[in-house]
Amino acid sequence: MARFGMVIDTVRCVGCMDCVVACKTENSVPEGFNRDWIAYDVTGKYPTPHMEIRSERCNHCDAPPCVSCCPTGASHVHDVGGVVLVDADKCIGCKGCVASCPYGARFIHPDGYADKCTFCIHRVEQGLLPACVSVCPTRCMHFGDLDDPNSEVSTLLASRNHHVLQPDAGTKPRIFYLT
């Protein structure tokens, strides 16, 4: 079975937010909310600061705390690609998952359920890339099967330095940032 993940090249990314806009239109994310966002990580002092720009979203963790804490089973691991999803009909909007996520990836949709990135599973199941990946003008985003050693994502991880967000949280995130 595939294990979907993303590899994002921070060297190419300019933080233009096209990924955020594309997610919004593709998934009709309501005004005032976004399922993904850009982080500008600035360290050091002027005139020699360092900045890493990252497109961030749900990490679709291998050990997702949002799933283990969900009282109704609404938060679950999908059988295709191991994507973490929310069944809106089962969700009671208790916000336990929102609090449990170390990445701040979830919010409560105005219709009352927990919402977040789905890796655009509706597109992926049609053989398309997630909307954010497909629009990125810098082509800094890659999506694929982490368990397939020949996939683009696996090859990139094998050949480039990379890191994940908050590795100490024990969540085993599946979004990797190339540096």
Binding site: C16, D18, A39, Y40, Y46, M51, F107, T138
Partner: protein
């Protein structure tokens, strides 16, 4: 920006119980879904068109789902977008759904400056305009009508006004933006870099950016190629008072003192000449006046430039050598918004000369030779010959201005010299935010007998109009063909994807109706724009039906660089690259650029610098609910140490007060390690004061309001706008 959107994201998630449900649609309060009567309502239709959120005009494919506009993506056949739009283009559907849009034609009810109008029919609006125009023609002549336009959509209205008999057409994109660059390059190479720029960024091995903030300035093809160059390991050198996104990708970041770029450029050229690192063969074949040029820059050593620029001599030498190492694939980017300090054409000429030393003009990784499709214009009847010359540049005061100077028309409107200007038409340009010194713009407007504003939203400019004509947004209209010079020839079609939700009309329809009302109907021999487009395409042996289906038709690629067989020629007086310019000398200007030290900010003041955000275009997209969700107000960037000293932190609201006492709307501080301590920076386009822009009203600060001073470029009339100084005031002092 991202920090902000993330903060908002979290804040709102915590407060969802108070948010009304039923907001599944993209924008609260959006109009009923617009439907194309002629298209089936069920399923997804994909309709190709080209974008209009900026002037880049990327090819796009819009998706309509069950009759409602859903999303818009890049057209894979389009050489500009290469199948990927920028965030503004992707968010373009928000323009259609914008609840703040103009809906019907308006005629002013009260004196100008009060946003009070009566809704009228289109016929009433045209009759009113025609009556005023006839009276102006009677008293002053048809030349007393002027038009300001931005973008391809102005073509038809321009045609109507040419038929009326005026020669006065200007775009702020010249004197307020790219004009100095174009003049500097023309004086040197005999040609300018055009738009889209002929920069071969993707093949550059060394890319030098001087204040150009690619990635924030989101010109799609250029940003895509920038990422390619960075991904390929190109050496990036950035000189900017601000640690831009591009600077974060740079091997060498030069934190230059604002206004001293020309000193750096001269010193770089000095090193290349002194150390014999320039392309000698190229210059022997194509250069004119090199020895005189070399003599003139002999004193411009890195040691001379150091106290001016703050860049140490060793860094200047290292970076110059790095440029030489990669020549001719070293691209010193010409920039785009170059109206900074009033010496901008000469600074741009220095950029051109630096490129010439490196041999990059005409070579791979430098500047390529673009080509376009041969699509003849429509065979209209000849226009009447205006009795008077253009009003914007009397006595050729700015001898190297090859386009009309918008601020020159404004000046003539104020002074009445060389002759009075009594009517302005503006198309898709918000002159209150685009021109420096708003008081002068308003003074000029008050001298008019007629101000007609064509726009999609009730901008500040619309607020001053006598007649407001609401245009259908690009997703709702046909437009003229896009036949642009680029890497390869192509023609692109803009066609309607959905209906306009109210009584908005396309520009071509307005222009034709106005011509008919003016008795100039014979200038529009075509019935509608489809007939016009079909005629032009047939003349080019292309199929309109084919273009409707595909959106883009590409022509045969031509050689673009010497390496592909392109040849070099220079349309300068000498027929060569003019290192020493006799035409400048003859006109009384420096034949080789000379550095002049800029004024220092007074103690306690900061130089005001401005730039772009990737999610907004000028002052025209702030009510687009998708794009405003990315960024709904601007911030004032302040060096973190200065902020600490002033007891300010990120998120605090302050006001900016300029040297003439003008106080801005409140704006949030961004305390950051990404800017020098002697300047502050804002993204242009915010701080709207037009009440009709409900969503953007008084959000952030307007840099335009603070630009009361400008330095005029003596070569071409450009208005350098980085010459204003501000102090940071507590929010409370602002009334």
């Amino acid at each position: 920006m991202s920090d902000f959107s993330r903060r908002k994201f979290l804040k709102i998630s915590a407060a969802t119980v108070t948010v009304a449900s039923g907001a599944a649609a993209l924008a609260k309060g959006q109009p009923a879904p617009a439907k194309m009567a002629s298209r089936p309502a069920k399923g997804v239709q994909r309709i190709p068109t080209y974008c209009d959120i900026c002037f880049w005009k990327c090819g796009a494919i819009a998706s309509v789902r069950d009759g409602t506009l859903w999303k818009i993506e890049g057209n894979p056949d389009d050489p500009l977008s290469r199948g990927r739009l920028c965030p503004r283009g992707t968010g373009g559907i928000g323009a259609h759904f914008d609840p703040d849009r103009l809906k019907r034609p308006l005629i002013r009810k009260r004196e100008r400056g009060h946003e009070e109008w009566a809704e009228v029919s289109w016929d009433e609006a045209f009759a009113y305009i025609a009556r005023k125009m006839h009276a102006i023609r009677e008293t002053y002549g048809p030349e007393s009508v002027a038009m300001f336009a931005h973008g391809i959509g102005g073509n038809f209205l321009k045609h109507t006004l040419k038929a009326f008999g005026t020669p006065n057409f200007a775009a702020p994109s010249f004197a307020q933006c790219r004009g100095p660059r174009d003049v500097g390059f023309r004086l040197t190479f005999g040609e300018d870099v055009g738009s889209p720029e002929r920069t071969d960024i993707k093949n550059a091995q060394c890319l030098v950016l001087i204040g150009s903030h690619l990635g924030e300035n989101m010109h799609n093809s250029q940003v895509q190629e920038f990422a390619d160059a960075v991904g390929n390991g190109a050496t990036v050198i950035v000189a900017d008072p601000r640690f831009s996104v591009a600077a974060s990708k740079a091997k060498h970041y030069l934190p230059i003192k604002p206004g001293t770029d020309l000193a750096l450029l001269l010193a770089w050229m000095h090193v290349l000449v002194e150390e014999g690192l320039y392309d000698k063969e190229y210059i022997a074949a194509h250069g004119f006046g090199f020895d005189q040029f070399a003599a003139r820059i002999a004193t411009c050593t890195p040691e001379w430039a150091y106290p001016e620029t703050g860049i140490d001599p060793e860094t200047i030498r290292t970076t110059a050598r790095e440029m030489a190492r990669h020549k001719p694939a070293t691209l010193v980017h010409p920039g785009r918004h170059t109206a900074w300090y009033g010496n901008d054409a000469q600074r741009s000429r220095a950029i051109a000369l630096l490129n010439a030393l490196l041999g990059s003009w005409g070579h791979r990784g430098g500047f390529y030779a673009p080509s376009s499709m041969d699509v003849p214009g429509y065979p209209y009847p000849p226009y009447p010959k205006p009795a008077k010359g253009k009003v914007d540049n009397p006595d050729n005061r700015y001898p190297f201005a090859h386009e009309a100077i918008s601020t020159g028309i404004r000046e003539a409107t104020i002074t009445g010299a060389p002759y009075p200007v009594k009517a302005w038409f503006t198309y898709a340009t918000n002159l209150i935010q685009a021109l420096p010194n708003q008081a002068e713009t308003i003074k000029a407007i008050q001298n008019l007998d007629l101000l007609v504003v064509v726009d999609v939203v009730p901008s500040e400019m619309a607020g001053w109009a006598d007649v407001v004509l609401p245009e259908a947004v690009y997703l709702e209209r046909f437009d003229d063909l896009n036949v642009e010079l680029f890497r390869e020839p192509f023609v692109a079609l803009r066609q309607p994807v959905v209906d306009a939700p109210d009584d908005q009309k396309p520009n071509w329809w307005m222009a034709k109706k106005l011509a008919e009302t003016l008795g100039l109907g014979h200038y529009y021999p075509w019935k509608d724009i489809e007939e016009y487009l079909d005629h032009r395409l047939t003349a080019a042996r292309l199929s309109f039906a084919d273009l409707k289906a595909r959106g883009i038709i590409r022509g045969a690629p031509q050689p673009t660089v010497v390496e592909e067989g392109a040849s070099l020629s220079f349309e300068t007086p000498s027929g060569k690259i003019e290192f020493y310019s006799l035409q400048l000398e003859k006109a009384g200007f420096d034949p080789v650029p000379v550095y002049h030290r800029p004024d220092e900010p007074p103690p306690g003041s900061f130089r005001l610098l401005t730039g772009r955000s990737p999610v907004h275009t000028f002052s025209r997209t702030q009510t687009n609910r998708i794009l405003s969700d990315m960024m709904d107000e601007n911030e004032v960037w302040l060096n973190a140490d200065m902020a600490r000293r002033m007891d300010l932190k990120s998120g605090d609201y302050v006001c900016l007060k300029n040297q003439d006492g003008v106080v801005s709307n409140r704006v949030r501080v961004k305390a950051t390690e990404r800017i020098r301590p002697d300047c502050v920076y804002m993204v242009h386009g915010f701080g709207h004061t037009a009440r009709g822009l409900r969503h953007a009203y008084l959000k952030g600060a307007s840099d335009s309001q603070l630009v009361t001073r400008y330095a005029t470029d003596p070569l071409m009339g450009g208005t350098g706008m980085n010459v204003n100084f501000v102090t940071i005031e507590p929010e409370a002092t602002h009334g």
